[in-house]
């Protein structure tokens, strides 16, 4: 079930939220668990069995780890990790590995006969696998008590707002809210007018980003990325910048809807984005982009590998491993591996070149102009991130290679943009570019209001801001059955 579908907006959300507040507080978990099953089964019903397997394994693993001591704990944790990652590996990476091996063997002139199994990736598998793993790891680290009620644990993994595309929650946040014994908090929240309104406003902002910005950008991006040899450097660059906006609005839009829906019911989920394109370095970008994933990798992979408290070469190695795996986490394709590798390389280069850059900055007087220096750093970061997005968006490595080649080899010509303009549905390009420009201006303002960092004007003025969003959705929205990009992961 898509958040932007009639079924969700007009039936599921009002019904589930209404029921949630109507039933006694100690029965709410059952309403949410049933709703989450309904939500997940609206995609491919049978895949709930895979989710059930993950939940079952980690439920018992958590209890047994909690009860055990010494090496047995480690052994049980390893078993849980292997079981979870095996499911992920089979459904997400089997075809990729099989194809890669087949290509390599055929290139050597041998016959390779293992067929493609035609496996369809269960929706949100990477998200709920990581969320479930974070529970067993936290129990192992004795930061979290094991959950003995199966339904409560199942709800922690399946909580519908963040089930298919995150944020990847941690037990100390979500499980503790589900388990809340504190009146007026988490599962024991009362109907709070201000909180419900704030949640609905956040959902509205999420819909605006998805329907008005992301889905419009997608039309232009899809046109260019599906015809890599047809367009020149200007069109490819424009499409790439629009993809940077599209993926941000698509994913952060989804996250805002998820966070808003949870907030209405009294849950506070993790913040996943903090205006990432205002970052002045790649390292800062990863502190603002998909925060729940980057912090997951930081806490459960980077730091256990030694983080930055090791010799330099090992630090670089740790960074590269984390980003290559982060790329692979997104999708089973070499394009994602390269995308992750690029980000890892950016970070390593930034560390290596830091003393030189500091000297250069002082030499040309940038240190005396901090605002200009910051703006320049933001500009460079956006270029680097956008370049990496080419690999993330391209359907395969050959298309990515063609696009990169054409960006640097074809002359910049306005006729190229005119060609793109003519190839698109009427008014698509100019209206989209105008809306994106408007979005860049209003995003920090609305984002501040939504996150409570700025005060929403009171009375009619405040209402006007959200009336304008809703009217914008209706008048400028690009409608249809468009899914969210991160659902595929």
């Amino acid at each position: 079930m898509l958040f932007n579908s009639f079924q969700f907006l007009c039936i599921f959300f009002p019904l589930v939220t209404g029921l949630y507040f109507m039933v006694p507080k100690n029965r709410r978990w059952a309403v949410l668990l049933a709703a989450s099953c309904w939500f997940y089964m609206a995609f491919v019903p049978v895949y709930i069995l895979i989710l059930g397997f993950t939940i079952g394994v980690d439920y018992f693993a958590g209890i047994w780890i909690d009860k055990s001591e010494g090496a047995k704990r480690k052994w049980l944790l390893s078993a849980s990790i292997v079981a979870n990652l095996s499911v992920l590996a089979f459904f997400k990476y089997f075809n990729f590995l099989n194809e890669s091996i087949a290509e390599a063997i055929r290139a050597m002139g041998f016959h390779y006969g293992v067929p493609d199994l035609g496996i369809i990736l269960p929706i949100g598998l990477s998200f709920h696998t990581f969320q479930s793993l974070s529970y067993t790891i936290e129990v192992y680290r004795k930061h979290q008590k094991a959950e003995h009620r199966f339904g409560i644990f199942a709800l922690y993994v399946m909580f519908y707002p963040q089930l298919v595309a995150g944020p990847i929650e941690r037990p100390e946040n979500l499980l503790n809210q589900i388990n809340s014994r504190k009146e007026g908090w988490g599962m024991r929240s009362n109907f709070d007018y201000a909180r419900v309104v704030a949640g609905l406003q956040q959902m509205l902002w999420g819909f605006f980003k998805k329907v008005v910005i992301a889905d419009r950008c997608a039309v232009v991006v899809d046109q260019v990325y599906s015809h890599p040899d047809h367009y020149g450097s200007l069109s490819i660059a424009l499409a790439t910048y629009l993809f940077a906006v599209q993926i941000y609005c698509d994913f952060s839009g989804y996250t805002d809807i998820a966070l808003g829906a949870a907030r209405v019911m009294g849950f506070n989920l993790m913040v996943n984005f903090r205006t990432p394109y205002r970052s002045a370095s790649i390292s800062e970008f990863w502190g603002r982009w998909h925060i729940s994933l980057s912090s997951w990798f930081r806490d459960y992979l980077y730091i256990p590998l030694g983080g930055n408290r090791v010799v330099k070469w090992r630090w670089y190695y740790n960074l590269m491993i984390v980003f290559l795996l982060s790329g692979l986490w997104h999708g089973a394709d070499w394009t994602y591996v390269i995308w992750g590798g690029l980000h890892g390389s950016y970070l390593i280069l930034a560390i290596v070149c830091a003393p030189m850059m500091a000297r250069f900055s002082g030499l040309i007087g940038l240190d005396n102009r901090p605002k200009l220096k910051h703006a320049l750093n933001v500009f460079i970061t956006v270029q680097l991130v956008s370049f990496a997005w080419i690999f993330f968006r391209a359907d395969n490595i050959h298309i990515a290679e063609r696009l990169v080649h054409r960006i640097f080899s074809t002359p910049m010509a306005l006729s190229d943009l005119r060609l793109l303009f003519a190839d698109l549905p009427r008014s698509m390009l100019d209206v989209t570019v105008a809306l994106v420009a408007l979005f860049i201006l209003i995003d920090p303002v609305y984002d501040g209001w939504i996150k409570g960092e700025r005060r929403v004007p009171s009375g009619l003025a405040g209402m006007s801001l959200f009336v304008a969003l809703l009217a914008g959705i209706l008048l400028f929205g690009y409608f249809g059955s468009t899914t969210f990009i991160y659902f595929q992961f």
Binding site: F6, V197, S427, M428, V431, M463, V467, L475, F479
Partner: protein, 329 residues
């Protein structure tokens, strides 16, 4: 909760005023020859064209012997003047990409037994695979019933339906933006040109018929039965490219649905002797010649099946080929 409901009501009323005001401005502010609203979405349809002409000619209080309904296959392929030459008063209410989702409200709001004892519904696999958006955009602007427009806009379960209704309401006094040169009257559009090239082979894959469209098709059958309107389902001649597995999916569905209803399915898709070069305007639609030949064939069948009776003729049959189309409306 009471406070939320009160505030939500104020919010929605405020939104309604802003939305209508903004829409009215966009719908009337010209930009590069067309109202600005056209720049905001590619699904808007302006009043005008053959659908507007057809529905403004059709008088639901005048008795017809039959009404033809369906997509562009219907309004281009079923020639009411051939019926008239044979003594039957027939009107064609086909419209662009009309799918069962749109046909149902048209039957509901325009047809009853007293004025239309027989409905001839053209089907092909394409109407069961589209979502009905194109036809809804066309019909919400160009047919006169607000209730039918509202039903169609609601049925697509999409906010575009609301925008289409807003456009209808805000442009209802506007004159038609354009008219069709091919409109001949009685709902019929004639395309004289022939495709004149070989048809490609049919795709080797079947199609999946939309559950929504199947639901509305079955609702059309129920509605006609409730109203005592006789229904005949037909598919007109097809070129080679459409005589493939996709059509078999449709015939299998028709066989299963119509089996116990007594409703005949007259399928001319694979009729012998179809001239792929000279009877078609394109890969899908009949041209004037094809429509005349096909409609003659259809009338023969309807008469031989006893669905159209000689004694029920409403108009005097004309000698073949003497039909005066210009006097039709």
């Amino acid at each position: 909760m009471g406070r939320l409901i009160k505030k939500a009501t104020v919010f929605l009323l405020f939104f309604g005023v802003v939305y209508i005001a903004a829409f009215a401005v966009l719908a009337h502010l010209p930009f590069q020859g067309k109202p600005l609203i056209f720049r905001t979405g590619d699904y808007y349809n302006w009043p005008g064209g053959d659908t507007w002409q057809r529905f403004h000619e059709f008088d639901r209080n005048v008795r017809q012997d039959a009404v033809i309904i369906g997509s562009s296959h219907a309004y281009r392929g079923y020639d009411p003047f051939v019926f008239r030459d044979r003594g039957f008063k027939v009107f064609n209410l086909g419209s662009s990409a009309q799918s069962p989702l749109n046909t149902y409200p048209l039957i509901e709001h325009f047809l009853d037994r007293a004025h239309c004892p027989l409905v001839i519904l053209d089907v092909f696999e394409g109407v069961f695979t589209n979502v009905g958006l194109e036809s809804t955009a066309d019909l919400t602007q160009n047919q006169p019933s607000d209730a039918a427009a509202l039903d169609m806009a609601w049925a697509i379960r999409d906010l575009r339906g609301l925008n289409m209704m807003a456009l209808r309401m805000l442009t209802r006094r506007d004159k038609p933006y354009y008219t069709s040169d091919f409109y001949e009257g009685l709902g019929f559009c004639a395309i004289p040109d022939s495709v004149n090239r070989e048809a490609p082979p049919p795709p080797d894959k079947g199609v999946e018929l939309s559950s929504t469209q199947r639901h509305y098709f079955e609702s059309c059958i129920r509605l006609c039965r409730e109203r005592g309107i006789r229904l005949v389902v037909t598919s007109h001649y097809a070129r080679r490219n459409r005589r493939g597995p996709a059509h078999k999916v449709l015939t299998a569905y028709m066989d299963s649905i119509l089996a116990d209803t007594g409703i005949p399915y007259l399928d001319y898709t694979n009729s012998p002797g179809i001239d792929d070069l000279h009877w078609f305007a394109d890969d899908s639609h009949l041209n004037t010649t094809g429509a005349r030949i096909f409609t003659g064939h259809l009338v023969d069948s309807l008469e031989s099946l006893g669905i159209l009776h000689t004694e029920q003729r409403s108009v005097m049959p004309a000698a073949a080929g003497t039909s005066d189309r210009s006097s039709a409306p």
